[in-house]
Symmetry: C2
């Protein structure tokens, strides 16, 4: 295979042969093909796309560039959830123990956050002692013990994707649906889950801002999963406003604990349930949505899900007692109330705007090398559809110092749009895409 011929072929709009894709990825992983040829190919793919066969082969090649975890040794149905990233998205933390309580193993390899979207690992890392670096055996042992584990992707998993992902970030080739789909699916399939539910976020706080793009991405990922014998379905969920009422790492752990104690705000609970229903259906643990929903709610009502969450945290080295007494979690020194300057209906709470404020506070990374502050963020965030009077609490800013708190207060205020007219609570699930 001559790399530039493969690049030229794609540049000219032709389909690449399976062996061309496999050889390119294999040689890229082993550094026979340099970054500049992969960058040129990625840009050609940005413009020309990949057909269903090509993207499946690309995913398979990236998945096989490193180790794969064999979850069949667990001897239980397995399901994972992947979100394309949003603001205040702590769903994984609730969902994993809830689904595990229903007898489904949840092998969840998660990522750190970059930009305005928070990472599940960063949230869990705010619990003192919590290890996000389990090796494969430890990972499987935790699932065996409590039904779920959430840890970081090891270096040996899909190394081709790791290289390509970093390269795309600096070569303007991130927003390509086939490349995004192959990246997500190669990692998720390498982790060995038999089934997978995708939460494709759509809105101003998400990577995909248009419904048709979100749907296209979902369809490509489902086709890949189906082509590789895994059950995959997708929800497209609203990311115009943050999910739940907190954004920031320890603050989101606290909201998770409250949700597992039965005090979830409706949007967070509903998205979690809808994703959980899909996981139970895909694994055939439940066949209809109503009974799946009932069973999932029961895991919260019975207190089982919260116990399971604490068990998982403890098994991964975390201070489970901090979940019973959240004062043991990192606390920001300055807490500032954001108050309504006028009365009215909340028409918009920009996920992007809140995300930027939280990033600015230090809860996220502008660059992969940035350190994050687990204590800072926003809590008590008002939601679209609420009615407030002047002086009511719109949000509470948690900051490292007074100056940053005041900047964030203005940013949060600017993210909130008011209306004189009554505003409906927005649709949460914008679409469902299932394998046919």
């Amino acid at each position: 295979m001559i790399p530039q011929w493969v690049i030229e072929k794609k540049r000219d709009g032709q389909s690449l042969a399976d062996d061309e894709i496999r050889a390119f990825i294999s040689d890229y992983t082993s550094e026979i093909i340099p970054d500049y040829q992969m960058a040129a190919l990625a840009m050609a793919i940005y413009f020309r796309g990949l057909d269903a066969r090509e993207v499946t082969t690309l995913t398979d090649a990236m998945m096989h560039s490193g180790d794969q975890i064999d979850t069949s040794v667990l001897d239980m149905p397995t399901s994972d959830k992947h979100s394309t990233g949003g603001i205040g998205d702590k769903v994984s933390l609730l969902l994993a123990p809830m689904v595990a309580c229903c007898g489904v193993g949840v092998p969840m390899l998660s990522g750190r956050g970059l930009g305005i979207t928070g990472g599940t690992l960063d949230k869990l890392a705010s619990i003192p002692g919590y290890r996000t670096d389990l090796d494969t055996n430890e990972f499987l042992d935790v699932i065996r013990e409590c039904g779920c584990a959430i840890t970081g992707q090891t270096a040996s998993l899909a190394p081709a994707d790791r290289k390509l992902y970093a390269l795309r970030d600096v070569t303007g080739t991130v927003p390509s649906i086939p490349l995004i789909a192959a990246s997500i699916m190669s990692k998720k399939l390498a982790e060995g889950t038999a089934t997978l539910v995708l939460d494709v976020k759509c809105g101003n706080g998400a990577f995909m801002q248009r419904l048709e793009d979100a749907r296209a991405l979902a369809e490509v990922m489902i086709r890949i999963g189906s082509g590789m014998g895994r059950g995959v379905s997708a929800l497209i969920t609203n990311m115009e406003q943050p999910l739940g009422t907190t954004a920031g790492n320890a603050l989101e752990v606290i909201e998770t604990v409250e949700a597992l104690q039965g005090k979830a705000v409706p949007d967070l609970l509903e998205v979690t349930l809808r994703l959980g229903i899909e996981m139970l259906r895909l694994t055939h643990v439940e066949t209809d949505a109503a009974s799946a929903r009932k069973r999932l709610i029961e895991t919260i009502a019975s207190g089982q899900a919260f116990e399971r969450f604490k068990q998982m945290v403890a098994l991964q080295g975390g201070d489970a007692a901090a979940l019973d007494d959240c004062n043991r979690l990192p606390q920001a020194p300055v807490v500032l109330d954001v108050l309504a300057t006028e009365g009215g209906y909340i028409e918009g709470v920009s996920a992007d705007g809140v995300g930027r404020a939280v990033l600015q506070l230090g809860a996220g990374r502008k660059q992969t090398t940035d350190k994050i502050d687990p204590s800072v963020g926003v809590s008590n965030l008002i939601q679209v559809g609420a009615v407030v009077s002047k002086g009511d609490l719109l949000a509470r800013v948690h900051a490292a110092n007074q100056a940053e708190a005041e900047v964030a207060r203005e940013q949060v205020l600017a993210a909130i749009e008011m209306s004189g007219d009554k505003v409906a609570v927005p649709e949460l699930v914008l679409g469902t895409v299932v394998d046919e």
Copy 2:
């Protein structure tokens, strides 16, 4: 400047600002921007193009990435010719001394060949002793002495182009009109010529195979030259069949000598004259085509041009006596006649087919690191429009051994198309593009 933002801007079809282009090229030259970002930008440019301002700025930035030769010290009008590359194209060898005889300085920095198109430097290097590595002072001295010099581009001239050219070759980003135009023009303008005539080859043996592409390339290059205060015009010439009757390095030197002795085949002479007329007009040495043509022909008829060529060769260290006695030039051990297997009219002599045969014989480079054999090639090549009988000579193959000679004979035969009907001699000049 954040490189990936510039890449994204071009990817999304926006125009780049002048300072973005200049910073990108400057940082690429000094290796602050790595190859992978330049490769991604080049591919984005392939798809999105560059407007007139952007391509002029890019050319200027690449030209200013290294040294520029100041030909004003010569105190004479200067003109150069650049060809986009063809088969059997020895025009530079004739043209430089002819134009120099008319009082125009010809500062010609030329390149080595790659692929089927031969390089002017490789042809001259077949003359024993000829130096293609003059430094700038030597280069100017030779022009001062005899009016023309043909040598290789030094490493300090347009280093950004040198890097980008090598990168494009391996990243599928060669066939981009703005990138081709900027590459050619940055080198040619750095060499300091006041005026420039472009010979844009069009046909199966050329890079540009469609007239509209050749015209578009010519127009972009003329606009760049005009934007930078240089007089530039272009001829689009036919490269469906090789130019002249030889292809191969020493063989083309012999054809040059014969042409300078008044025995040029019509197509070679006509293309040379048409380009020379433009050079005399651009430098205002002649104002009308007829008198320019007359003057150029006179340089051959008087023997002056041949003397000037020998003088240049001698000044550049070459064995000028080998031009009087061509047996001193490298000779191939095996010479094989290619005879007509049937009678008829010659309908086509594929420049691409002959070029591949000659490359296969060892006269060119498949890769930049290949060594070439100066003695091999094809001579006595029949031309379109000729009528032949069975057994007539169609070409003569010069090879390193019998086996290669026989392979080449079949390739040359396959490149020649016959017809039962009379065939017209093809148009030589397909178009003229001048600065308006």
